[in-house]
Amino acid sequence: MHLVAAELLKLRTTRLWWALTVSLVALTLLGGILTVVFSGDVPGFELSSEFAQRNLFGAGGNSRLFALVLGIIAMAGEYRQGTITPTFLAHPRRSEVVLAKGLAYGCAGLALGVVTSVVAAGVAYGGLALRGVDVVLPTGEILSLLGGSTGAAALFGVIGVGVGALVPNQIVAVVAALVEQLVVEPLLFNFFPEQGRFLMGGAASILSGAPGPGATLSWWVATVVLAGWCAALLLGGVAITERKDVT
């Protein structure tokens, strides 16, 4: 446990988490406010529609990408800054370091998810009340949107650590992960929804309530799928890290 504490101390003693949290909150606020203000009268898309309200309550779905980047920088950044040397000097059993980091950034992702969901819910309830529009989404679905995007953010924090361990070049890892999430997976998910729902982003978007056309999974299958990705990437990262010469 002292390793998890050390990882969280590392996180708290640089400004990265602060910058990411502030931009994530700003992005969520902005998206929510734009939806509230500019939702027009197009049937099926007006503010009183389930579609618009699902967008509002699901605005926290962004948090998983931030958690992913945070996790990648936490691991690959140690190679970039050279801090990996003191890290492994202090604790030479490297697999434990990577696993502790995974746990720590699962927590960090969870925190990002909670903050974002609170902001999204605040904007949604506040915005709907201000415009005098009734909440039409069932409470159960609202909770699963907020909870799902929070859970996805937690798991993506762990995935980020795994990716960073597999690809220790921080810039390559961040760019590759974002391209994969924002370009490759949406394309696959659109054209092959049957298979795409088992991808990380596919399962995560189902979990946070924004599934693509057609295919879907129950939330617990999506959680298991995502957890499987977490485990695979983290263990792959552990194997690479154990073997690596730190020069």
Partner: protein, 301 residues
């Protein structure tokens, strides 16, 4: 002699097609400062990184008190290491860096302020490392290494980036640590930098051991050649060869003799009535000793 605390046994490390360390063995005793010397690229850093569990050896092993680094229960309480390169997050303050080191190694956080003051960084502890000079980073690295009050201290090129005043401070500091019975292994590519600090010297080149001896002995053995200037160069050359020596003709009137003392040459010249203009025994500086030892390996011989 106390049992060695650092032991390198038949160590070999290959990076791709490059053989960085080649069948290297030596031992370092506690209570002394040992200089680990060699030109750049000789394999010093690789050897130290294998010793610290950061690089895996291709063959052989490196141990601290009989254990490889990864087996040590509290590695940073046993061994303190100052390695080259940026080992700090530029956006983290010095004090926070030490807090992280303490947390990860389960060290006493109460020593942080003490260590900062020991290396003269007290007033900069709250500053981000990005504003630090190279010398300040070296001092922070030393503070981090000493945080666990280790018995063994390993420093890779610690003088890099230190100003002359800083180097003087470092020398006194390392000597004091050795006097307390600790083991200090310090690498350098500049022998003179360390000549007033080290007791023993290990010289490597091209990954192989070249010499391992007390400093005085190393300097004593490596005597220079005798330089002779005489108008009778041809005759002296023939005479010396007749005495089984191997003079080197530098110019018409100058000879260099590596295998005879100035006394021997003086006696020969007097007996043969050869006029001498100069008879100089060239004393090698430490730097020349070092160069002589490592030159052959550097040239690829």
């Amino acid at each position: 002699m106390p049992s060695p605390s650092i032991s390198i046994e038949a160590l070999r490390k290959q990076f791709g097609s490059t053989l960085a360390v080649d069948d290297l063995s030596f031992a370092v005793r506690p209570g002394s400062v040992t200089g680990f010397l060699g030109p750049n690229g000789a394999g010093k850093t690789t050897t130290l990184r294998v010793l610290l569990g950061l690089v895996k050896p291709s063959a052989g092993r490196a141990t601290i008190d009989g254990q490889v680094y990864r087996e040590l229960e509290h590695p940073t309480r046993k061994v303190g290491a100052v390695l080259e390169g940026a080992n700090f997050h530029p956006g983290r303050t010095a004090a926070n860096h030490l807090r992280v080191v303490a947390a990860a190694g389960r060290l006493d956080r109460g020593r942080i302020d003490e260590m900062l003051s020991l290396v003269g960084l007290t007033e900069f502890g709250g500053k981000r490392v990005q504003g630090y000079s190279l010398g300040m980073k070296q001092r922070l690295g030393i503070a981090a290494a000493l945080l666990g009050d280790p018995e063994v201290l390993i420093l890779d090129e610690p003088a890099n980036g230190l100003d002359p005043e800083g180097i003087r401070w470092l020398r006194g500091f390392l000597r004091a640590l050795a006097r307390e019975g600790r083991t200090v292994l310090v690498s350098s590519h500049v022998l003179t930098e360390m000549s007033q600090t080290v007791d023993d010297v290990i010289v490597i080149g091209r990954g192989r051991l070249i010499a391992h001896a007390p400093l005085d002995q190393l300097v004593g053995e490596a005597t220079g050649a005798v330089r002779v200037r005489t108008p009778d160069g041809d005759r002296l050359e023939t005479l010396l060869k007749g005495h089984g020596k191997s003079p080197q003709r530098v110019s018409a009137d100058v000879l260099l003799v590596a295998d005879a003392s100035s006394e021997e040459i003086g006696v020969i010249c007097a007996a043969e009535r050869i006029v001498l203009y100069e008879l100089v025994s060239e004393v090698l500086s430490l730097e020349e000793v070092f160069f002589k030892l490592t030159a052959s390996t550097e040239l690829g011989a």
